[in-house]
Symmetry: C2
Subunit: 425 residues, 2 copies
């Protein structure tokens, strides 16, 4: 038995280092417990990490990772304000550890008293965090519940903009895929790392909060950096061409970060996360002609260029008419309705993912887009746009919104703080 290695405090990095050297590393006793995480061995490979602490939460302007595990949690009715604070404190500590490539708890998956459950579940042992980010948000119900009760003494600090999104035409929302007191967005280039993060935060929440719903996304549908190629959605089109990129700092400032709100100063420098689970009727879409598909989107399928000409990033010319005097870009196309010119200048930082949840009873893939956007204010930056699109977008025929949520995303976390700490001050 490799007892010493088994009981010793091996971090994910430490373990891979020792395994790489083909030798068991003997670390035992109290010293090991303190030194468990991120043993700096020369064999350790260079890992890809994103800083957890900072002025903003990571996972917003971070270059969009390839995979997503998103979860919404409800705080248990029995939980007190102190329980909530303790939960946020524990989550913050665990997120800081995991994003650095360590276990969720101070001991890690392979140490701690041998007769106790490990404080990490172990499936990410040896895995590169692959740019793991963990981003937290607070839902409207955390402040005032459906009956109007002030659950945790936070009602006076609820931002005006943080209200359940309105019903939009065509919405067919599943309560089991909507809302939630808290949300956690875990993104990584390795899905096992993202799943591990949500699973361990869920475990840590035990007795205080429980998962309400969760969603895996297998492929990003937006770029948040100019260094990234625009990916394709399940309609086969490039998606998120017009989404804001991190390098466009002036527009990020104007459109992503929450504006100062004297009644909710705790959110200054934060943002709002809009999530929409959008089922796509891909079988119907697939029967449309290329001409019809391009007209609906307003862009070419090959390059994603506006139908008014140019290349992917060419500005569309909504006035340019073709044969018969009709505009080349249909006024009811997705491009036209989502464009800032038709939304009072509003722009979105999109960070959505393609999903497939198996298939349904009709033999159709349960597939679509898990839409995520970070916005300065949903009242100016999502609600008007979605109202117009739900009513007029040619694409709506092929979509159904089945899940929805809005969360306030606190600003970044300094070392020693916990997420949303100012809300409780």
């Amino acid at each position: 038995m490799t007892g010493s290695a088994r009981r010793g405090g091996l971090s994910r990095r430490g373990l891979i280092g020792s395994a790489g050297a083909g030798a068991a590393v003997a670390i035992t006793g109290a010293g090991a417990m303190a030194a468990t995480n991120r043993a700096e061995t020369s064999e350790a490979p260079a890992w890809s990490t994103v800083a957890f602490h900072g002025e903003k939460q990571a996972g917003i302007t971070t270059a969009a990772q390839d995979r997503l595990h998103f979860a919404a949690f409800d705080v248990l009715p029995s939980a007190t304000r102190e329980d909530l604070v303790e939960l946020l404190r524990d989550w913050t500590a665990a997120a800081a550890r995991m994003t650095a490539g360590n276990g969720a708890g101070p001991s890690g998956p392979l140490s701690g008293p041998y007769d106790s459950p490990p404080d990490d579940t172990g499936e990410a042992i040896g895995l590169d965090p692959a740019n793991l980010t963990i981003t937290f948000g607070f839902g409207p119900n955390l402040f005032t519940d459906a009956a109007g009760a002030d659950r945790f003494g936070l009602a006076a600090r609820q931002p005006q903009a943080l209200r359940r999104l309105p019903h939009f035409p065509g919405d067919n929302l599943d309560p089991a895929a909507s809302d939630g007191d808290l949300c956690v967005q875990a993104c990584s280039n390795d899905p096992q790392v993202a799943v591990h993060a949500i699973r361990n935060l869920t475990r840590i929440a035990f007795g205080r909060a429980a998962i309400r719903w969760s969603q895996l996304g297998f492929g990003r549908t937006s770029s948040t950096s100019t260094a990234q190629v625009t990916p394709r959605n399940l309609f086969g089109f490039k998606d998120g061409t017009a989404s804001l990129r991190a390098e466009d700092t002036a527009n990020i400032e104007a459109h992503v970060w929450a504006r100062p709100d004297p009644e909710a100063a705790w959110l200054d420098g934060g943002s709002y996360l809009v999530a929409r689970k959008i089922a796509m009727h891909i079988e119907t879409w697939d029967r449309g002609s290329l001409r019809e598909q391009e007209n609906i989107i307003g862009r070419t399928k090959a390059e994603g260029a506006p139908l008014s000409g140019g290349e992917e990033f060419t500005a569309p010319d909504f006035a340019l008419a073709g044969r018969g005097g009709r505009p080349l870009v249909d006024a009811s196309s997705h491009l036209a309705l989502a464009h800032p010119d038709h939304n009072a200048g509003a722009r979105l930082l999109r960070r959505g993912y393609n999903y497939v949840d198996g298939s349904n009873q009709l033999g159709r893939l349960s597939a679509g887009l898990f839409f995520i956007a970070f916005v300065t204010d949903p009242r100016t930056h999502y609600i008007p746009m979605q109202t117009a699109m739900a009513a007029n977008d040619l694409l709506s025929e092929y979509l159904q919104h089945i899940g929805s949520g809005l969360w306030a995303v606190p600003p970044g976390i300094a070392e020693g703080e916990f997420v949303g700490q100012a809300l409780f001050a």
Copy 2:
């Protein structure tokens, strides 16, 4: 408008080449239609492909890719034997194209008559196939339906071993995640490529067969090559240590390929695919101590070494006793019950994947293992083992089998042939 590029026959490779060069490639007319796929441009990057044609189907001994999309199909009641043959012919052609990095149809996602639906859905444009393999299997019901009817004149050629798996103790099978006339296993290192393959095969099957169920797997849980590191399952343990590797050709020959069967010569050189959807009660597991977890598995969590000592690939010593005279490897551990010594020498080529299907109404992750094994005969190589494990495996307390299927996997496909052609000869 970039009309020529849009209407031109650009392959996935061709498109990325032209995009890389920043120029639209003009290919029009009938010549383009013939030359659409895999234009050999010097800008094209080197793609990772696995040969589709060969003596065996790819996706069995192929080094296990990271991601899975698996689908089970039922042939429609209205379909004739000729429809079935035509479907298999169409699927074979599409699989050959897609595994080479081309579109599902001869025209590709961006060409064909502009007023017709494209013969490829487009979400894989520009994506490396990332070792895409597509593996086909035939279920028992394709030969004889539940009422015993010979649907397609194939009953006389149904292998004796191809019968619905028996009910095992503890099974709680969902018909909507079990069985199916046909199965398709799509594996790739890029999940969008695997999803694209199943989606297009589904589209091609329209009017002849429909998806019965499908399953995404986000992380492989087995290695099928000695060059691969053993991955971890959602219990945090290395999984598939004892699984056969492609390099072990003698054992692959003995344990994977179907033995000659005079009544089913069409399957000679093929295999059987056993699929089991195994829900894992990870929340319960996470409350077990490290000692308990290791005792249940029979291996250390760190290295995956047998508890009788050594390293991951050391043979377990089931007789070696520890304190109090009890064997170090519990006789009811997963290791002991799955070991060839206790299964008449049977060994498996495992090719399973971790899955997470969101979370359930109890706030638990709907997570587990989508078990896949390729075996020479399920009567010797799966049924006895699972019978013993379901009754005695300590791990059973943390598992529930919720889906099941068995398919005969025809041998490899020569160019110009279709999968399973010998069955219809």
